[in-house]
């Protein structure tokens, strides 16, 4: 039996019929076509499926869609500005050459949104800890940390300016 639920996804209210057993990962990918949300393990080990639920980064593969009822979900598809400009975080990943195969990147960017949103500076080792729920086999994390660091700095600079 399908169940009708509503939630807010990337700023838009949606109402959908879902299987109560299905993961948020499957709902986002299959029913809403949000394929930035990647599946790498399906048991919360790799972090590729990370999205924000009410601003908090979670593994969508081990989060039932029914739990998201009435909540606000953000994926990478929701980060660009209405006119199509990249968010400063996305731009930082490009500028710092942090992207290789790119499969883990949407998930890491979503954690970065949470980190940058905190509006404070972190030591590199703190960033490592905050990102340790994401596995990346390509980059050795070096340039990913660079990118997140840069995005944090940009945010702090804009806060000072604003």
């Amino acid at each position: 039996m399908l169940e009708i639920i509503s939630m807010r996804v990337n700023g838009k209210d949606v109402e959908l019929a879902i299987d109560p057993r299905e993961s948020l990962l499957d709902t986002l990918r299959r029913r809403l076509g949000l394929t930035s949300v990647k599946k790498g393990c399906e048991v919360g080990e790799c972090g590729a499926c990370t999205v924000l639920v009410e601003g908090e980064a979670i593994d969508s593969c081990i989060y039932l869609t029914v739990w998201a009822k009435g909540k606000s979900i953000l994926t990478v598809e929701g980060l660009k500005s209405p006119t199509g400009e990249l968010s400063p975080i996305q731009q930082a990943f490009i500028d710092e050459a942090a992207v290789q195969c790119g499969f883990c990147i949407p998930g890491i960017i979503m954690s970065a949104v949470e980190i940058v949103g905190a509006g404070r500076r972190y030591e590199r080792d703190e960033l490592r800890k905050l990102l340790s729920g994401h596995l990346c086999r390509c980059t050795g994390y070096e340039k990913i940390i660079d990118a997140v660091e840069k995005a944090v700095e940009a945010k702090l600079a804009s806060q000072r300016a604003g």
Binding site: T35, K38, E42, A97, C101, H134, R137, C138, Y141
Partner: protein
Amino acid sequence: MGSIGQRKKRVDAYGKVTGEAKYTADLEPVNILHAKVVHSTIANGLVKSMDIDEAAKVPGVVKIVTCFDVPENYFPTAGHPWSVEPPHQDICDRLLLARRVHYYGDDIAAVIAEDEVAAARAARLIKVEYEEYEPIVTVPAALSEGATPLHPEVRKDNVIVHSHMTMGPKGFTYEDGLREAEEKYGRENIIVFEGDYNTPRISHCHIELPVSWAYVDTNGKVTVITSTQIPHIVRKSVAVALGLPMGKVRVIKPYIGGGFGNKQDVLYEPLNAYLSMQVGGRPVRLEISREETIVSTRTRHAIRGECKAVMTKDGTMLARELTAWANNGAYASHGHAICANCGTVFKDLYRDRLGTEVDCWTVYTSSPTAGAMRGYGIPQSAFITECLTDDLAELCGMDPCDFRIKNCMEDQFVDPGNGITFHSYGLIDSIKKGREFIGWDKKRALYKNQTGSVRRGIGMAIFCYKTGVHPISLETASARMVLNPDGSAQIFMGATEIGQGADTVFTQIAADVTGIAYDRLFIESTQDTDTSPFDTGAYASRQTYVSGMALKKCGKQLKERILGYAAYMLNTADTDIAKTEHAEKIREAKERIAKLCGLKEGDEIRPEMLELSESIICLILPKEKKGDAAGDRTDTTGKADAEGQEAAVDRTSGIGQADGATQTDTAGKADAAGQEAATVGAVGIDVNDVDYEVCGSENIDSQGLVKLFDSAIVAETAFYSLDRSEHITAEVTNQCKKNTFSSGCCFAEVEVDMKLGLVKILNMVDVHDSGRLINPAISEGQVHGGMSQSIGYALSEELLVDEKTGRVLNDNLLDFKIPTAMDTPDMDALFVELEDPTGPFGNKALGEPPAVPGAPALRNAVLNATGVHMDEIPMTSQKLIAKFKEAGLI
């Protein structure tokens, strides 16, 4: 031009940070069926029967296929180019589904259902009756007297291949070397040593699972969309497995989420294609779970290296022997090539003055199949070789760097077995650079005579690495370019982007060679065997070297055709072109050329007089003063052009683009170099010769070329001209019959907490001798990633197989531990950039080498810190503590 050597942003980065880049699973149609593989629960035996009745009753099940249904077509899976010589063909030892079970997790049936839950549920309900044999999990068991041959159809015993290689006099044996050493140097002046070193079986752990989906298209072609490094080879294996002509098989490779060699093997594509054909060609998806990936795809070989060595007391290596044992698991895959490769580096890396003997054994066992993984036997080889080297240095009391410099392979080394040559040699410079960077000498002195349970140490290791696979296998690649009516162009490669940055590097190459502006070039990232040029794919560290050369040749042809059409336009400015929109511009350009070159009425403007730079058609000024006789000019222009082709290679790193769109971190530097190139006159022009009155200073570009008009005018006219319509394309095949060694080293500084059995990495630097870098930012990323993999290899990764049952004990990412961000320190990536004469841009292997030297460097750092020889990786806490206890340190 001049985008080679620049830190260009990746062409695929935008798609990947926005989630718009489509990977295999992102492209599935909504009505797709779901397949699930049923795996054996024994490691060795026969499937006697299967009861599928209960499973078939599960609502949503469409079809169940068992090992009793599949065709008897044995097929190979190794991602090698097919050999037309039967003795060199890959071993065909696999069927789509196995009746004869070879490992715990073998594929014995598959369920196709309307949804994943139904497929998984039905798969669990299939009852299997086995005839069970004793699992033969280890190499000694497989080679023991009377052991059952696991693949009698291809091998009479369990040895897949045995390779014997020597250096030194013909027929050299280590025993000969030992005898000669004693005779020549005296027993009191030599040191004899024996040591065994062990490397683990590990999993690649690309984050994207192996996933594919297949359907039969309206032409009756079975089409597989798959996450692979080798689409053209997959096509061949699918055809063999299904008994289809190759033209009936189509393979499409979209963006892929990492491969590291696992996807340099044909995995489930043949089965997926077969499954679709069993349901009338409907689309069927086959996604392999993480657990299945770890058990049932491929692994890196566990190799045991038994070493012997004799050297003089002053540290001159005299003779060494390696006997390497590789556990290849259930199926041959790449196995026959990998252990032998391990042996080649052992013998090539050092100069044994008397000789070297190597024996490599690759053995079938009832355990998960080993195949290609980044480094292809060389991470194992480097661990074995470089542990031995440090142990020898310790025995003769030499500094490990000095010992290596004294004994390592030399410039212009040629492997006597295959002719592969060290064409550009940066090995010793790499050692020196790393030594200085990390402060080796100071720290080696500092870390002497430590006490206490927390100690620091510093270690290093070196390596060499073959760039491509010639002459062991065929090296062939094609590239195609197609000009658009606006002067931009598409690049089509058979070579695959797998995250390493190939598409960006190819775009830089195309920009450099054609003169089309970087931002007017678009590379098609997807390979489709029906429409892409042929290439064997992403493996070895070959693509920039082999496929890059194909693109270099292709780009040159494309440019020649553009300039040919431009010359036609200039020569027909008053006739064919006169009626066209651009007539005035072309006439002006023609007049300027006539003035600058002293052309007379009726003199032809030849394509060789023109150049394409930043998408602008330019005039190459003849070197001598204008007004010279046309005849003389012909000769010199010709010569200048020939030099220009040479120079096109030489000037690649120097010339920067100063415009905003392409400015990068290094723009300042690159621009300065560009200025220099302009005065030097890469195409044989002295800027002092330029007649600014005629040209207008704004029309002189950074290379001293006279800008004429945008190439968009040429492209548009070529397409739509009523007099001469021409579609400008180029396609070139490059068969590469060269191969060259890369080399380099890793230095690592660690702090060992002996009571906790923990190794903390304080500093780690790789120095790579990989020729000229096409894109330093991407190169650094490659190095960081490889270093991180080597950290996992050294400290935490090991796939555990129960010796009794053959079952994998840690088939998930919690229990199989790859490094997280917290396990990976800040790393440094340095380079010794020497021009390799065989690379298209002076480049040679970089893709795999970073995964090679890290593990032995870390082991040697632990040795330096504690005096304990960790001869088996990974150096887990358990193993470290046991060894520290044994040594009485804790």
